[in-house]
């Protein structure tokens, strides 16, 4: 079976990689591009540990074929921080102790940032439903929700002062 050449924008860089026709975008990110921050917890779109933003849409990268990435724009956990400057969502996860094992954390941060990018002032309930596709077994979600609400408040403040 011959491989498919794919060209895509990944975290702002033009990337080319070869993939099997059946390979998922998650496999390509992890195995071809070495971006192992996106995790495979289930491979069936149930846990959200592989969450990336695909042409502006939050998706489970395990449910996207790698070949579908041709010409698309992909944002992964590795692109959330600006250089060595953490995104407020990342910083609040640390300050609020919103991770224990940290395995689900990349997916939660990508999903939380996606939420705040389109809803700067979510209610607790909106945060909980937005993140309902991301499983965390360690925290009981309490500190995650608080971190996201705090990050939202900080980002709103930044927008006001900007």
């Amino acid at each position: 079976m011959s491989k498919i050449m794919v060209s895509a924008q990944v975290n702002g860089d033009t990337q080319q990689f070869l993939c099997d026709p059946g390979a998922s975008l998650l496999d390509a990110l992890r195995d071809e591009l070495g971006l192992t921050g996106s995790k495979e917890g289930c491979g069936s779109g149930d846990c959200g540990a592989c969450t990336v933003v695909f042409d502006g849409q939050m998706v489970c990268s395990c449910l996207v074929l790698a070949a579908e990435a041709e010409g698309r724009t992909i944002a992964t956990i590795e692109g959330v921080a600006e250089g060595s400057e953490l995104h407020p969502v990342q910083r609040k996860f640390l300050e609020k102790g919103a991770l224990q094992c940290g395995f689900c954390t990349p997916g939660f941060i990508v999903a939380s940032k996606a939420l705040l990018d389109h809803n700067p002032d979510p209610s607790e309930s909106e945060v909980r439903y937005w993140l309902a596709g991301n499983l965390c077994r360690c925290t009981g979600y309490d500190k995650i929700v608080r971190a996201v609400l705090d990050a939202a408040a900080e980002l709103r403040q930044e927008r006001v002062s900007a």
Partner: protein
């Protein structure tokens, strides 16, 4: 709601009890941290495992020739490649295990005992080829009848999993093999007479299903076997030393030849205290001469790893009119899966450990069936046995018209009380937890229609055990702490806090590394809520030794007796002589180490004594939909005696995470099997763990009653919080609908059926 119990007033600590950012945090929020499947070795092959489609079958033959002939396949192994071990029990940390059983759980020899039991493995140049090769392996099975419930397993004439297993603990040694591995009875007094004479008696038959630990990271490892017999393993687990011990025993290797590097672990909860893949990967690597990665799929994780045992339990409790419990008789059967389990003893010993009961008898049975061999899960055995106890106490409170916290206070174990094992309790804090729960605003908040409030307590024994830590001073005086205890939930942060507190330096001056098994002395695995207690003790003692060395070095530099020096504020101070008042910082002494006794370091290896059990009380409000029986948890508060909280964020996190797991066990989770004995819900869609929108905020109250046997008062906090939720949720639902519930999980159909039974 932590303020009243924080006791900040009497805590003289600078750092203990503060909430700094964990040292490994940035790597984990940026995706850089390397977990089980992230590690890559040069020239690595990809492995795949063939698993049984049958829950019980004899393997007549396995033909791997076609798989071996496939281009790209570099090695195939089956049970025949494993050393044929005699049945041998070896000591493993807190318990023991039979090395033959453990080996055959990694790879079946003559029989498969559950759907998903591994029976062959392939290593190939790609995972696609490895999967193709699996399809070419021909297995001739003689399918055997299977058993999946206690009733089936113990029925006369039931198919027996192990024909060399005879029930232990019976009065007379049995002559025929059985699926009951063990009967264990403990107790005191005359419970039958006490119950016969009781003012009020409640009883019930309870059950809970087997549940999975549900860590999000599937098991994964890479192994590399070299021609000289030296092996490297990279794996995510709760104990790199556990992997070393088991791989050496299973494969007949020297432990010093196996170097296990702990990768970051994506959750464990007890489920990563066993080996599944590592011995197989080592054999594949030995055959192929190349490093081999093995990883489980999520379905593999559900079918072949974990779970915690399901239980059926009969319980009778007798009490006086004032609520004093006079007698308890309990008999429970744990469903341990394909191999003898470890939860029967701990379940029996935990069941009544939070109460003072003069007359009691607890009998536990360890029963095998054709599902995956169970693994530890957070306070293993305790949730299953304490759930019935807490439900019966709730019913007793209702019958006697006593407040559910008051009845628990009346019977609560207190320091000095002699427990069921005859050992007096130490500085335990169950009473303080009950009082804190009663004072919490949640407890007196009004309830709406269809709502109910449940209370439940619980306990777990915790552990100490062997740990090693080293503390090395860098040339600039910054500090490197090294341990062998995998960091599952923030223990690097607690080690750094305890080291910096002891050394009286800044938190950021301490960096913590979890070393591989060839770079640090032995530590028991991260489990039993032992790490902050036991490994923490080793870190603190190593810091104290470093302080002693620094004082001796400074005394030499000042030419005074060491008694004329003092450690204060992270520096040595001179108390007398012409250098009186002088100060030498760690950096200043370290820079001169080459002119005195050499590098400054300490290693402490200890067997930590003096651990104490933890206790918790949870308050749960539920609302039941009268149309569907669906239960929503609308408010939840967890109160726990944690000893001293070193890093409160991560202690609260343990309480919240444990509560969420317990709520899942109570409401949604459980193994479901089809008629053929196959797991019917081996994925997160059908095995329904709580998601973010299922839960409210989980309020925490840390009751800090210090452990006198730890320098900072640590008790261990990780396991207790999964114990009370089963009873708390069941009691809340029972009070909401006015009817008792006995069988977990409380799925809408079950709750609805009970509600209908009233009409």
């Amino acid at each position: 709601m932590n303020a009243p119990q924080d006791k900040a007033s009497f805590k003289p600590y600078r750092l203990v009890g503060t909430r700094p950012v964990r040292p490994d945090g940035v790597e984990k929020v940026t995706g850089k941290a390397i977990y089980g499947t992230d590690h890559v070795a040069a020239g690595m092959l990809h492995g795949a495992i063939l698993r049984s489609p049958h829950p019980h079958a004899r393997i007549r033959s396995i033909d791997t020739k076609k798989a071996e002939a496939l281009t790209g396949v570099k090695a195939v192994v089956t049970g025949a490649d494993f050393p044929n071990l005699a049945s041998l029990e070896i000591a493993l940390g807190e318990s023991s295990g039979n090395i033959k059983t453990i080996s055959r759980n990694c790879m079946a020899h003559d029989k498969v005992l559950y759907e998903g039991h591994a029976l062959a493995a392939v290593a190939a140049t790609s995972s696609v080829i490895a999967e193709e090769a699996l399809a070419l392996i021909e297995v001739d099975y003689e399918v055997l009848p299977h058993v999946l419930t206690v009733e089936q397993a113990l029925a006369p004439g039931a198919p027996v999993l192990h024909d060399d297993m005879f029930t232990k603990g019976l009065d007379q040694t049995p002559t025929t093999p059985s699926n009951a591995a063990l009967k264990f009875t403990m107790g005191r007094g005359d419970p039958d007479a006490a119950i016969a004479a009781a003012h009020t008696v409640v009883s019930g038959k309870f059950s809970a299903l087997a549940v999975h630990q549900g860590y999000i990271e599937p098991h994964a490892c890479v192994a590399s076997y070299n021609a000289d017999g030296q092996v490297q393993v990279w794996a995510s687990s709760q104990g790199a030393f556990m992997i070393r011990t088991l791989c050496a025993s299973i494969l007949g290797l020297s432990q010093a030849d196996i170097r296990v590097t702990p990768l970051e672990i994506g959750g464990g909860f007890g489920g990563k205290t066993k080996v599944y893949l590592e011995p197989v990967a080592i054999l594949l690597s030995r055959k192929s001469g190349r490093p081999v990665r093995l990883a489980m799929s999520r379905a593999d994780v559900f079918r072949a790893s974990g779970p915690a045992p399901g239980v059926v339990a009969d319980l009778t409790v007798g009490a006086d009119a004032d609520g004093t419990i006079t007698g308890v008789v309990m008999e429970f059967k744990m469903l341990s899966g394909a191999n003898p389990g470890n939860d029967t003893h701990s379940g029996a010993m935990s069941a009544l450990a939070h109460y003072n009961v003069a007359n009691c008898r607890v009998t536990g049975w360890d029963v095998l069936c054709n599902s995956a061999a169970t693994a530890a899960y957070r306070a293993p055995g305790a949730p299953q046995t304490i759930f019935p106890v807490e439900c019966c106490i709730d019913e007793l409170a209702q019958k006697l018209g006593i407040d559910p916290i008051d009845i628990r206070l009346k019977n609560a174990a207190r320091p000095g009380d002699i427990g069921i094992m005859g050992v007096p309790a130490g500085e335990i804090g169950y009473v303080e937890c009950l009082e804190a729960a009663k004072a919490h605003p949640h407890y007196s908040a009004p309830l709406g229609p269809n709502q109910g409030r449940g209370i439940a307590g619980g306990t777990w024994g915790n552990y100490g055990g062997p740990s090693t830590a080293t503390v090395n001073l860098s040339e600039d005086g910054s500090v490197l702490v090294t341990t062998g205890s995998p960091d599952i939930g923030g223990s690097r942060a607690s080690m750094a806090i305890m080291a910096a507190e002891t050394l009286e330096i800044d938190y950021d001056k301490v960096r913590v590394t979890i070393a591989d098994t060839s770079s640090i002395g032995y530590s028991m695995l991260t489990g039993g809520s032992r790490t902050t207690f036991a490994t923490g003790k080793a870190v603190i003692q190593a810091c104290e030794e470093v302080i002693a060395t620094l004082r001796a070095r400074a005394a030499g530099m000042w030419n005074v007796d060491v008694s004329q020096t003092e450690w204060r504020g992270g520096a040595v101070h001179c108390l007398s002589g012409d250098k009186a008042g002088a100060e030498l910082t760690m950096g200043a002494i370290s820079a001169k180490a080459g002119f005195s006794g050499g590098p400054i370091a300490a290693e402490v290896a200890l067997n930590a004594q003096g651990y104490l059990p933890g206790f918790g009380v949870h308050i749960c409000d539920t609302e039941v939909d009268p149309e569907t029986g669906h239960v929503s948890v609308i408010r939840y508060t967890a109160v726990q005696d944690v000893g001293t909280a070193i890093h409160p964020d991560y202690v609260e996190g343990q309480m919240q995470g444990g509560a969420a797991q317990g709520i899942g066990w109570a409401l949604n989770e459980g193994y479901v099997f089809d008629k053929a004995g196959r797991v019917d819900n081996p994925g997160f869609l059908d095995y329904r763990m709580p998601v973010c929108s299922d839960l409210p905020m989980i309020d925490t109250v840390m009751v800090e009653k210090p452990n006198p046997a730890h320098p900072f008062g640590v008790k261990g906090a990780g396991e207790v919080p999964i114990v009370p939720p089963l009873g708390a949720v069941a009691n809340a639902v029972s009070r909401a609908i006015g009817l008792r519930l006995y069988d977990l999980p409380l799925t809408p159909d079950r709750v609805y059926a009970v509600m209908q039974s009233r009409q």
